[in-house]
Symmetry: C2
Subunit: 186 residues, 2 copies
DNA sequence: GATTTCCTTTGACATAGGTCAAATAGTGTT
DNA sequence: AACACTATTTGACCTATGTCAAAGGAAATC
């Protein structure tokens, strides 16, 4: 999914607007396993994933990686809180396979928000969509059995579920790797 | 918390803008236990709580009420998804004590979004704040023990925790009423 | 293609928190 | 004050899922 198509699909920008907006995004190629942001750093960049996928995770008290979210093709990826509040990130952000990203800085996107109300609208709509997804996950985690949560994962991230290590998914779903392994068998 | 103070605290509206915006909000007094939206209905109104508190909940397979969120003084309350997508609400929305609300319709707020980029910005910021709160709850539910979740509740909704029935809080925290009762004792 | 390292599966056992049922305490209403 | 209703607490028991440990598989590196 191309970033320009993506933006147009949310809000009808004119060609001229799109051109002016895209100038602020930098295309980057990032290799598998590259870390974009570390826990404690301020996330200075918002990424759009044209190709590849990523995840956010943190280290719990025992130093174990806990996946917080997956980011697939055609989505924005960042440590949302850290980026928008410019506060230390609670999460690591990493790329799970070779990826093509478009990146934009906080200053630049704020400038775009200020210049184009449509851009502000885009931001609001994308955030609401994210909110809906997080609420869905919350419901899955709170009220569903381990098996049901895995099924939720398959519908929410069909492309991702089979391409990342089992442990990443297990921690994302709030269950042990062993349990997930048994479920997959089942 | 007054709605005009609230709006000003997020984005610096001019007096004239504020006046024009506030015209679209209708003040309402709503009695305790009043239901604002039912599961399956389209949520046509966004509410701002000046006084009182509310919650959203749904009925699970066994017909049990599961609290999904609490809304306190100085917050917007609605079935977010339903309101913004104008889709059937997954939740009931009810007022937990006599309340004073300011309500606005979808058409009116869309008009305001279109007229005032600052309003669009306000919407984006409020949504991001909500997103952060939901992520916090998600972390609490996913990784904390029942006891820790209750502590999270006390910091997130200090005003609410002591004023609503135990069962509402228990279902919100994803535990049985009995467990919460035992925790409160402990 | 051998070796090292990482990832997944399997088994045995432990436990937080669920469910059910009954008792107790509060609250509001005539 | 007595009644009805609702909310909370307590006890006994149960189960899904966690933890620990060890064995297999895959895949990356030399």
């Amino acid at each position: 999914m191309n970033i320009s198509d993506f933006l147009s699909s949310i809000v009808p920008f004119t060609a001229a607007e799109l051109k002016d907006i895209l100038v602020h995004f930098k295309k980057e190629s990032v290799p598998k396993n590259h870390t974009l942001v570390r826990q404690g750093e301020i996330c200075k960049t918002l990424y759009f994933i044209e190709k590849g996928m990523g995840r956010s995770y943190y280290l719990n008290e025992n130093g174990k990686e806990i996946t917080q979210w997956f980011f697939g093709i055609g989505k924005f990826m960042s440590s949302v809180d850290s980026f928008f509040q410019q506060s230390p990130s609670l999460y690591y952000l990493e790329v799970l396979e070779d990826a093509t990203l478009y990146s934009i800085s906080k200053e630049d996107i704020d400038q775009l928000f200020a210049k184009y109300p449509k851009m502000e609208k885009m931001g609001r709509l994308v955030t609401i969509e994210m909110l809906t997804r997080v609420v869905n996950k919350l419901n899955a985690i709170q009220f569903q059995t381990a098996k049901e949560r895995y099924d939720y994962m398959l519908t929410e991230f069909p492309d991702i579920a089979y391409h990342v290590p089992l442990g990443h998914i297990a921690s994302y779903l709030g269950m042990s790797q062993e349990t997930l392994s048994r479920i997959r068998k089942g």
